[in-house]
Amino acid sequence: MIGVYHYMTVAAILFAMGTYGVLTRRNAIVIFMCVELMLNSVNLTFISLSRHLQSMDGQIFVFFVMSVAAAEAAVGLALMITFFRNRETIDVDQINMLKL
């Protein structure tokens, strides 16, 4: 029988991987994909705990996480397109126009 701890360990490893990717990668789209990876690992935690507690609330939360991720994808990618038009790159090291 697979316990809830197995799923949570997998989710923790995925979350740590996503954190590492966000901190080290410099391409804004890859950083974005790593954020999606972290959101997905949280979803896995939510669903496994929801099944373990035999309650439906966690899965509704996953639904809201998914809708927020979709909104974030739309706005984030639009921001990247706008930035690419201005600077011809989406390297996050070059995104320093607000710096004095």
Partner: protein, 167 residues
């Protein structure tokens, strides 16, 4: 048998998660991420949440990844430059390792309480997962559901305004 299958899927999920953060080309990262999403959908099926698995495939592997791939191809990105900052990599790997260890400590030491609801495997198989989700969402969580709708509307308008050529 089930545990072997679990380990197989977990191995594939973690390997493709590793590829997401290691691949030099963003397209390869995106394909590895799709693979991870499929593995998570398999986990959801194993957890008796088939509706969530379907939504995971449709929303993540379908909509969001297609959007990301479109933007990658639109911007025609090359391979990421190899120039790296050693200090940043060391600190961020230390940070993520610390985060993982804290999470593992909490998982190992913490005790999950017993069942608080009454949604058993039997209920799901007899009543249907989609019906249960719909019932909870449109009774208990109606206000958050409406707010999520408004959030999506605002996101669509914001994306249009941002990506338009002459604002």
């Amino acid at each position: 048998m089930e545990i072997l299958f679990f380990y197989l899927v977990a191995l594939v999920a973690l390997a493709s998660g590793f590829l997401v953060i290691r691949c030099q080309s963003p397209v390869n990262s995106a394909l590895a991420l799709v693979n991870t999403f499929f593995c998570l959908a398999v986990f959801y099926v194993m957890l008796n949440a088939p509706f969530m698995a379907a939504v995971q495939i449709m929303v993540y592997a379908g909509a969001i990844m297609v959007l990301i791939l479109f933007v990658i191809m639109l911007l025609n990105l090359g391979i990421e430059a190899r120039q790296r900052y050693m200090r940043g990599i060391v600190w961020s790997s230390l940070g993520s390792l610390l985060m993982f260890l804290v999470a593992l400590f909490i998982i190992k030491r913490g005790r999950v309480t017993g069942a608080t609801g009454d949604i058993t495997e039997y209920t799901i198989q007899n009543f249907g997962h989609t019906e249960l989700i719909g019932m909870t969402m449109f009774t208990e969580f109606l206000l958050p559901f409406e707010i999520a709708g408004i959030l999506l509307l605002v996101a669509v308008v914001g994306a249009l305004v941002l990506a338009k050529r002459d604002v």
